[in-house]
Symmetry: C2
Subunit: 419 residues, 2 copies
């Protein structure tokens, strides 16, 4: 990669100061932080993190796509390392906690362990993952998928950003052209990702830590109803084939069904399009999206089958034609119970108010979880705001998250507690 | 007005031939017929009608805004004339029946009466009303409102078309600058408008004539629901304030209420806007329109009060804020029972399948009805299509309409049957 100046920057290792410092490596033309993969601000952020990690005494390296690792070497060369960290890239106009918190928290946890406990039994690595969001190129989890080797099977040569620059060109331009390490990253004993919740559950329930048991699977659909556009004044109710009337009934029914299935199932109708969309014309066509999420594939499929059936029945009764298209699906992922057990012990020992919960959003941990024990730890997000300059978590909660991570890593790397 | 060439055009007086002939005076750049007020094609159409009327032996005159009259003089100068006719202007890309049919049918009815019965007791006039639709200028019923003198009270000096040409300028440019007649048009004994239904009732019920008892009143509303935009994955159902969910419930409820009130009440939600309108975000705001119509003001108001109350209750239960704005209202209008009685007699005598019905759309007859007995006669519209190049009524039905009009005018003008 490009040369950079390893200047020592005088920043205290307080979590808030370090988050602000990391946020300073981002474009701020408008509002929020924008740090897209392989941009200048992204490179500067990785380089600054590398410098900081070196200063703390970690062994620093990049892999061939730009994931940045800081390794605290353990005594036992045969013990597989423990990995912690999160993603360095942001959405456009994002906040300073999403992703960044997990990286800074991981470095601070390693710093505390080094200072307090010295050399671990098992190596611990903190990773600043180069891409999770897919904000510049249409490809999510690029960083973590490279770590586990999944991208080898995928053809990414055609991926381009909005300006037509290809993903591989952008990568090569920064010097990430060859494998800089021979470490097999599949050979890891555990991955722990600390992240802001990006939801409102912990805040509403006045809890400090979320121990994630599963990341939901998702199904997305488009529902299109065909009726008959007609005059709003001259068409009696009994002769109508009103697509909006049908949509209202279907949406209401879907939501009642979601309530009946109960937590953690969620269903959302986020987008509606009406034709012709004029006050005095009965709409002849409506389409709307459905997003359904649940951590168990059986429940997810059962719910989807159920609403399919109900929708066909109701549409027929309303004399409307219906087309349902499934255009996105991602499978649910279980987090490692043995890791969650360690985290739970830490919470109980430290008297921290925790909740075993589900993540409704995707995270790098789900990519890792196919290859080794992986889990996800949440701290509260104020009002659930995320992917916004307004995202916020107070310092107390940020610190509790770091403490739980530190103690969990201690158990795994120093105490020889095998997962 | 501008001079014109009174050339004799060789067109048969078959209804279809005359409708096609009248349709030829219209811009046909794209599809359908466009004949907007005070345009060249509009003027040519009025002039052609005037020539035809003169050829048939009617006394022809324009009033000061361009309404064209053809008068069959009666024997009794003290008897107030009977008026029939409809509007000559079209919507943009309209069909050849809307408005035009009533004018051509009126002329053909007078032709038949003259030929068959000679001079009537009471004068009969056919009127080609210069503007009903308001397609060029934002003002509906300009022609009929001028006939009854209503526009005197309104300031129309600021009305302009899309190109910035003012209504009054456009009128004056064609020479309609002063009163060309001293006849007081308020002094009329009856007005009968024959029109295509623009709805599907007569066709569905296999009937030939609709005798309109009332034109509906209308109320239009905008309903805005405020909830809370949030992440579709990380927000449990119980913590949501989902504006689309609320809208679905309200729309479904409104439609059930409309069914419960029964015919002839109609309610339509024609337009919906969702914010942010993205598949994976719970919508924080939705607005939708409501159009409600009924021929009785008490029922109309009762329904609106009823849904207002229900909407506030349901929104509160859904934890959504609601704003309802009434942005349009027009009052119901009763057609003259004494005229409808005559029409009914004609239908019964001629064994014509009729229906006493409500008009869900507005017509010139509603303007006249405030000043003298006025009514509206419908013939079927194929599939209810209107304001479209596809509008169609078959020749048999067009002829039945003319026959009923002719016999009704005969009763009123020749037989001395007072209304």
């Amino acid at each position: 990669m490009l040369a950079y100046n390893e200047e020592v920057i005088d920043v205290s290792d307080n979590i808030n100061d370090r988050l602000k410092w990391l946020a300073s490596f981002g474009e701020r033309k408008d509002v929020g932080i924008t740090r897209l993969l392989y941009t200048d601000s992204w490179l500067k952020a990785q380089q600054a993190l590398a410098t900081w990690m070196k200063q703390l005494g970690l062994n620093v390296y990049y892999d061939d796509v730009g994931n940045l690792f800081g390794r605290l070497e353990g005594k036992n060369p045969l013990a597989k390392p423990i990995l912690t960290g999160s993603h360095i890239d942001t959405v456009k106009h994002g906040g300073m906690y999403d992703g960044s918190y997990g990286i800074v928290a991981g470095i601070l946890a390693l710093k505390t362990l080094m200072e307090r406990e010295g050399e671990p039994e098992r190596s611990v690595e903190v990773v600043s993952i180069c891409e999770e969001e897919g904000s510049r190129f249409p490809f999510t989890y690029w960083g973590s998928k490279n770590i586990v080797g999944e991208t080898i099977k995928e053809d990414v040569s055609e991926l381009r950003d909005e300006e037509g620059i290809s993903l591989l060109e952008a990568k090569n331009r920064l010097g990430f052209t060859s494998k800089l390490t021979t470490r097999k990253k599949k050979d890891v004993s555990a991955f722990i990702e600390l992240h802001v919740e990006q939801g409102i559950i912990l805040e509403r329930e006045k809890l400090d830590i979320g121990i994630v048991e599963a990341i939901v699977g998702q199904r997305r659909f488009n529902v299109r109803l065909h009726g008959e556009a007609n005059h709003a004044g001259t068409t009696p109710m009994k002769y109508r084939r009103d697509a909006v009337r049908g949509a209202g009934k279907l949406i209401d029914h879907l939501m009642e069904m979601a309530d009946d299935y109960g937590e953690p199932l969620v269903a959302t109708v986020g987008k509606i399009e009406v034709l012709p969309n004029t006050p005095n014309v009965i709409p002849g066509e409506v389409s709307f999206t459905i997003d359904v999420r649940h951590p168990e594939v059986e429940v997810l499929e059962a719910f989807c089958d159920h609403f399919y059936n109900e929708f066909y029945t109701i549409s027929k009764r309303c004399n409307l034609q219906i087309e349902i298209t499934r255009w996105m699906e991602s499978e649910p992922v279980k987090m490692a119970p043995e890791l969650n057990e360690k985290i739970l012990e830490v919470c109980l020992h430290k008297n921290i108010k925790y909740k075993k919960m589900i993540s409704g959003a995707g995270h790098d941990a789900q990519v890792f979880s196919k290859y080794y024990p992986a889990t996800l730890l949440f701290v509260p997000s104020q009002q659930g705001v995320s992917h916004s300059p307004l995202e916020y978590t107070d310092e107390r909660n940020l610190q509790i998250g770091i403490n739980v991570l530190t103690e969990t890593l201690y158990k795994l790397a120093y105490k020889g507690e095998r997962t």
